[in-house]
Symmetry: C2
Subunit: 96 residues, 2 copies
């Protein structure tokens, strides 16, 4: 990319962890509501396969997209992200 100060050289970059955690939190909320990816896609106006990618952590959505998904789940984005941050603080424990 470009030469910046690399403070930490961890094997699993924080970025990957965050995407994975967000995906997990999303899947948790979705399944808790008994929604299929397809149904959530419909509610948020996003493609079914795109939702799938986010849940698997292979996609890095923008704030606006993340917010649309949160709205479709009827929760504030801050709450969804807070859920994603939980397992990261504890070092990878299971979510609710």
């Amino acid at each position: 990319m470009h030469e910046h100060l690399r403070v930490n050289e961890t094997a699993t970059p924080n970025s990957t962890l965050f995407s994975a955690a967000f995906g997990k939190a999303l899947k948790n909320k979705r399944t808790a509501l008994n929604l299929s990816q397809e149904e959530l896609g419909f509610r948020s106006g996003l493609d079914r396969t795109y939702i799938s990618g986010i849940e698997r952590g292979t996609r890095n959505p923008t704030l606006l997209i993340a917010n649309r998904i949160a709205e479709a789940l009827a929760i504030p984005l801050s709450v969804l992200i807070a859920e994603a941050e939980k397992p990261m603080q504890e070092g990878g424990a299971s979510a609710v």
Copy 2:
């Protein structure tokens, strides 16, 4: 895009509101820490002008970028976003 049910036809789309609110929250936190955009840019490894764009609500960062900024501000992203959501709930009141 494609034809979906338009529930609400507000003059200012939610997306714009959200970006603006996030930018405001960001600026609040940054100035509270007495950081210049340039300094925050350096700490987060992002371009000075990009930080500026986000604060003005003209840019829509990804979750990973937003998280890097939150880290540079030493707060969880969920907290920064929660700050952004506050004025939206109250209909555009001033932040702390």
